[in-house]
């Protein structure tokens, strides 16, 4: 199949951009299960990965998909799966396993309207908390939120880089709108794309888990004879299923490696926030309405600025807290029944009112006009 060079200007679908980004990031293994609205990622990779020597396999369900991805990752492959809410729910058992065993992998969740089967073809943003707290026990998550086709490319690359750097599963929390729309994506030459790879052990190394820093990752089949387990384990991988201290150290270190590096992981975009009256905190497809809202507000007697979250987890708490110091009011529009809202309310801690704007179902977005109306109403209340 003749194809255009990846480094060019494309008119791509979001899912296609995600798939091409995976290849550019070095992904050579994809296992998945069909689901709307994520299937195009798999379909595109099924065609493209073999061309670069990579493997795709359709597994029997989503547990098996993430299982195969984890197995491939331990052989040294950069590996990915893509799904939507129902499949992401099934993957939660192995999300915990990947976190506990420090297995780098990327899980794309193209959100749709839930719960359950919900509206399979319609967009939603109801998986924010599933991406944070979906598996059982104490853990920490990294989840990125793209709002354009360009960012489907850029944040997929970043998801792989973060996953390799911190040896942890990373969620690309996309949504149906961003995944299915087509727009321009400008892809730089490979030399301008920053690619990070996991730290490998020296032949004499014996500690592969649970380090204060991120431990080097041995590959299976290279003679390290590494025992990998989802049970509580020490630095060598040996199980300690009853020792309080070992569990305490392991889980605190695993959480710590993300929490302590949150400043480096957190990413956001500020727009028009200097001296604005109202701060909008948004993410994903919903954030696409912000720019026009800011313009529309210029005809009103208040000004609007925006903080757009590109990382949802770890939550950019410091950024939102600073925003609260400079505005009278924060609004949080999202296509769910309040998820990021509670997080904003938590970090703002009563400094200014936080107003939720929620819409669900039918694939409808919050329009700039609706957003402006809600903001105007809230401003009136505050004044």
């Amino acid at each position: 199949m003749a194809r255009k060079e990846t480094s060019a200007t494309h008119f791509w679908q979001g899912n296609e951009a995600c798939a091409e980004a995976a290849i550019a990031a070095g992904c050579r293994f994809f296992a998945g299960y069909p689901i709307t609205p994520a299937s195009e990622i798999f379909e595109h990779l099924a065609l493209r990965l073999p061309q670069v020597g990579g493997i795709t396999i359709q597994m029997e369900d989503e547990m098996a998909s993430l299982g195969a991805v984890i197995g491939a990752s331990w052989t040294g492959a950069k590996a990915m799966t893509a799904t939507s809410g129902p499949g992401f729910s099934l993957m939660q058992e192995l999300m915990g396993y990947a976190f506990m065993t420090e297995t780098p992998c990327v899980v794309v969740d193209v959100q749709r309207a839930g719960p359950s089967t919900g509206q399979a073809t319609k967009t939603g943003q109801g998986d924010v908390m599933q991406a944070r707290w979906g598996t059982h026990g104490d853990y920490n998550s990294i989840a990125l939120s793209p709002n354009s086709v360009q960012e489907m490319f850029e944040l997929t690359i970043r998801a792989f880089n973060l996953s390799e750097t911190y040896r942890t599963p990373v969620v690309l929390l996309a949504d149906e709108i961003v995944a299915h729309m087509r727009e321009q994506a400008v892809i730089p030459p490979p030399s301008q794309i920053k690619i990070l790879n996991r730290k490998k052990p020296k032949p004499t190394d014996k500690e592969f888990f649970n380090g204060e820093d991120i431990a080097p990752m041995p590959l299976i089949g290279e003679g390290y004879n590494v025992p990998v387990t989802g049970s509580t384990h020490n630095e060598h991988g040996y199980r300690f299923t009853a020792d309080r201290a070992v569990h305490d150290k392991l889980v605190k270190n695993l959480i710590g490696k993300i929490r302590n590096n949150a400043e480096k992981i957190v990413d956001y975009e500020s727009y028009n926030i200097d001296g604005c009256d109202v701060g909008v905190v948004s993410f994903g497809c919903t954030s696409r309405a912000i720019y026009e809202t800011v313009e529309l507000a210029k005809k009103k007697d208040f000004t609007v600025g925006s903080v757009r979250l590109k990382t949802i987890w770890p939550f950019p708490g410091e950024t939102v807290r600073k925003l609260a110091e400079n505005v009278k009011l924060i609004v949080v529009p999202e296509l769910n029944m309040r998820e990021v809202f509670y997080e904003v309310e938590r970090v703002v801690h009563g400094a200014v009112p936080v107003v939720p704007i929620n819409k669900i179902g039918g694939g409808e977005m919050i329009t700039p006009e609706e957003l402006l109306t809600e903001i105007a109403r809230s401003v009136k209340k505050v004044d």
Binding site: F29, M59, A64, G71, A72, P227
Partner: protein, 277 residues
């Protein structure tokens, strides 16, 4: 064979967690002998995957090898990812009947359908042992367990027949009292191209025997011996006469193309055509 068999070549110096009388130790012994007789001086060319349950502790972390101890039932998917990326390694899955034929059954069926080149050893103790003796998909009809205190009225699953139907290259069932046959089955399994399934019916005096009415492991072993029926004889018997019998033997041994062969051929072709266009 020049060197004598020595388990120390294959095992870490860690105490096994198994109860007295547990069949897992017998399975380990036969597996390692099979490995030795095939000429492997160590387990350097092996990767082991297991799930949750007593049998999942066989390789992890006791074998001196890479081992991935996964979530309950997910050993075969993880083994799939490994085998596809590293077809040169011997990928062996150990698991109990609950892990392989209960929660993980669909993965076994699909691995057999793909004829993935791995060996799956299912240690069938007919019970959920680690959790204290609940009914399993393999528990014989009428058996009392903690969750079937009036006796189980579900029919046990014939797993080797299932994997034959699904498309595996090799399938066999033996009990731990059939030491030589079990070892030979594992040797065949390890050298078969395609999915090899070996079921080892294994005594669990603690969780199965105690509740099912066996006084000690010797009684379970005697029951295995007295109730084992060779496959050729079983084929001539009526279904009702086979209730509570253990059918033993080789269910299938055939050469059919494996998944990894087809996959790598496709990749080579796709790479070539992408380069030429």
């Amino acid at each position: 064979m020049t060197e004598a068999f020595n388990v120390r070549n294959y095992l870490r110096d860690i105490r096994f967690p198994f109860c007295t009388g547990c069949g897992c130790l017998t399975v380990i012994s036969h597996f390692l002998r099979a490995v030795h007789e095939l000429g492997h001086k160590d387990l350097g060319k092996f990767v082991f995957c297991s799930g949750i349950g007593c049998a999942a502790w066989i390789p992890s972390p006791h074998f001196e090898a890479d081992s991935i101890h996964t979530a309950h039932g997910r050993s075969i998917p993880v083994a799939t990812g490994i085998k596809l990326m590293r077809p040169d390694l011997n990928v062996v899955v150990f698991g109990g009947d609950g892990d392989i034929a209960g929660i993980g059954l669909s993965h076994l069926v699909h691995a057999a359908r793909r004829n993935l080149n791995i060996m799956v050893v299912m240690i069938n103790n007919m019970i959920y042992g680690m959790t204290g003796g609940q009914v399993a998909p393999t528990t014989p009809l009428g058996t009392k367990t903690t969750t079937t205190p009036y006796g189980s009225f579900e029919h046990p699953l014939d797993v080797p027949s299932l994997v034959v139907t699904a498309g595996a290259s090799y399938a066999a069932r033996w009990t731990t009292t059939h030491g030589e046959q079990l070892k030979e089955a594992m040797k065949k399994g390890l050298t078969t191209t395609g999915l090899a399934f070996v079921e080892a019916v294994s005594p669990c005096p603690t969780a199965f025997g105690r509740r099912a009415g066996f006084k000690n492991v010797a009684e379970i072993v005697r029951w295995f011996r007295e109730n084992s029926v060779p496959l050729e004889e079983a084929e001539k018997m009526a279904a009702e006469d086979l209730v509570k019998k253990i059918v033993v033997g080789e269910y299938v041994y055939r050469k059919i193309p494996t998944f990894t062969e087809a996959l790598y051929r496709t990749i080579r072709e796709a790479e070539k055509s992408a380069k030429t266009k």
